[in-house]
């Protein structure tokens, strides 16, 4: 079985979110970059399936120079090879454009399974894996919270639905799966894994390598701004002791839960 995992580099949750002067992008300063949360679960699921049924796991990202790190991290955890797609022309793509590039790069690889996260933590478009499924003509399932390998041509996946409901779905290969968090317990890279990583191949792909005159874009950001608060929140401040005294008073006399 041959799997690809799409991994996106995103700012971590504690990074400052500051709008740039152009008002359509975010400032890059002070950001700590990390692997998108659900992509980590996607990688782990691909590695578990490989360990159980054999095959290869390839990781692929589109990003700036710094994004090479998410490929290396995945290789250190056990992925076999990486594809690093990078070009200034690929900044600020929408999901359609990204999926078009992935389709172009991955089409001749004939993957049985393509894994992605169900959505990215920063842009939350939740679409890349599905658009790619359409471009490559694969089956698909979203919000996958469990997998069960059937044979060389089929897989069963458990899809999460709202409010504690689930649905098993059988898919023919090739299939594109978007993975929900909590499906597994992602591993940490071992020291040996980090050593092995250094010898694993990473192919770099730039705009020139792709026979694409223009990257399609169907939407673009017109303006970014900080949301205006709609609710009157009463803030309690002071030293921890003062906060606790005030809060206890409110719990007792206003909310009346004591």
């Amino acid at each position: 079985m041959k799997s690809c995992v799409l991994i996106k580099q995103v700012p971590d949750g504690d990074s400052p979110v500051v709008i740039a002067d152009d008002q359509v992008s975010l400032k890059g300063e002070g950001i700590t970059w990390t692997t998108n949360e659900t992509d980590g679960y996607a990688l782990e699921e691909a590695l578990l399936l490989k360990e159980a049924h054999g095959g290869e796991v390839v990781v692929c990202t589109i990003g700036k120079d710094s994004a090479l790190q998410v490929v290396k991290d995945a290789l250190a955890k056990g992925a076999d090879r990486g594809i690093f797609i990078t070009d200034p022309k690929f900044d600020n793509l929408d999901s359609f454009g990204k999926a078009a590039i992935f389709a172009q790069v991955l089409k001749d690889e004939n993957f049985d399974l393509i894994f992605s996260g169900l959505q990215s933590d920063n842009s939350s478009n939740a679409q890349t894996g599905l658009i790619l499924a359409e471009f490559l003509g694969t089956s698909h399932a979203t919000m996958v919270i469990g997998t069960e390998w059937i044979d060389e041509s089929r897989i069963k996946v458990n899809r999460e639905l709202e409010a504690g409901w689930f649905r098993w779905t059988e898919l023919d290969f090739p299939a594109s799966l978007t993975i929900q968090s909590g499906i597994n317990k992602p591993r940490y890279a071992s020291l040996r894994g980090i050593m092995l990583m250094k010898k694993k191949p990473i192919a770099t792909v730039t705009a020139e390598d792709l026979a694409m005159d223009e990257i399609p874009a169907l939407s673009h950001i017109k303006k970014l701004y900080v949301p205006r608060k709609t609710k009157e929140t009463v803030f309690i401040s002071g030293s921890p002791e003062e906060i606790v005294t005030q809060l206890t008073d409110k719990l007792e006399n206003e909310i009346k839960v004591l």
Binding site: L130, M143, E162, R167, A175, L224, V226, P240, I255
Partner: protein, 317 residues
């Protein structure tokens, strides 16, 4: 603008988010001097006929009786091609997540997801949240477009009522490949915890840092005679069982008090708890979206507050 509103039917009942979205479609129609057509796959529930729309387009095919993505995609793709709406709006349900992105790729139409509103003042734009709800983005795109709206973007109780004619369209979907085969739906066995009736919930998020810190909030919950709730990552990491998860894929709660500790307030968490009478949030990040919905906010390190709060409450009893 010629607006189509896709109405999701779950077990014969109109999905609540679809009703909210219908409200949004009606507002958009009013702003653009346009019309709303409700699009329904399979049987049309009677209550749908009580909403104000130009018509109900009832798409019929045996394969549409139960949800299956490739049939849904093919059906709506043909309807869009033959009826040429300017925009099709959806509620951002888990089901919509599973098929509309692929529909957008097939038709090469932009799909703006999880939007919280639209603007028609200048050009038609929609607003979506990025960076975990910390930033709003007004999005520009070409029509025709596909747009999904977030839970709470519009109010179901503001939907305008009226009457509507049903127009049926029968489709032959026999050529659609059967490479995706959904099975039966099932519900996870209910655990012993029922948060939906809890009067006080102390809820803990990723801000708690590690499993060893959970007893800290458990003690606070005990002091308050409260149930312990949590956000999704806390369950993903195995720190608390799934039956304590609050949110779109967990429980929906409406306690007298919801005390959120180290929870950022993502929309998927909010939909499960925004019905609480009073929301108190402790978060070290003043820009955390939880403060958008909190009645009482405390910008602080929860580890400096929670143990003292537990003591203070115990002293009252």
């Amino acid at each position: 603008m010629k607006i189509f509103a896709f109405i999701q039917i779950d077990d014969g009942v109109v999905n609540r988010l679809s009703v909210e979205t219908l409200t949004g479609a009606q507002k958009l129609a009013a702003a653009t001097n346009g019309s709303v057509t409700a699009v329904v796959f399979g049987a049309v529930p009677d209550d749908l006929k009580t909403y104000k729309v130009k018509e109900i387009l009832n798409v019929q095919a045996a394969e549409l009786e139960d949800y299956s993505p490739l049939y849904y995609i093919e059906a709506l793709s043909r309807i869009i091609s033959s009826e040429s709406p300017d925009t099709v709006v959806f509620g951002h349900t888990y089901q919509v997540r599973d098929w509309v992105p692929r529909l957008s790729a097939r038709l090469k139409l932009p799909f703006l997801v999880d939007c919280i509103g639209f603007k028609t003042d200048d050009n038609f734009t929609v607003t979506r949240q990025i960076s975990q709800g910390k930033i709003n983005a007004d999005m520009a795109f070409e029509n025709p477009s596909l747009i999904s709206f977030q839970s709470g973007a519009f109010r179901a109780d503001e939907v305008e009522s009226g009457t509507a004619e049903v127009r049926a369209i029968a489709l032959d979907l026999s050529a659609v490949p059967g490479t995706i085969r959904p099975g039966e739906k099932y519900q996870q066995a209910r655990g012993s915890v029922d948060l939906s009736h809890a009067k006080v919930i102390v809820s803990v998020g990723r801000g708690i840092g590690k499993e060893e810190n959970i007893p800290l909030v458990k003690e606070l919950a005990d002091a308050l005679s409260a149930e312990l709730g949590c956000s999704r990552p806390v369950v993903d990491y195995g720190w608390l069982p799934h039956e304590r998860q609050v949110g779109s894929s967990g429980q929906t709660v409406s306690p007298k008090l919801y005390l959120a500790l180290g929870i950022s307030g993502a929309i998927q968490h909010q939909v499960g708890m925004k019905g609480a009478d009073t929301i108190v949030a402790i978060n070290k990040d003043e820009n955390a979206p939880i403060f958008e919905i909190a009645d009482i906010g405390i910008v602080a390190d929860l580890f400096e507050i929670v143990p003292k709060l537990t003591e203070s409450i115990k002293a009252k009893k």
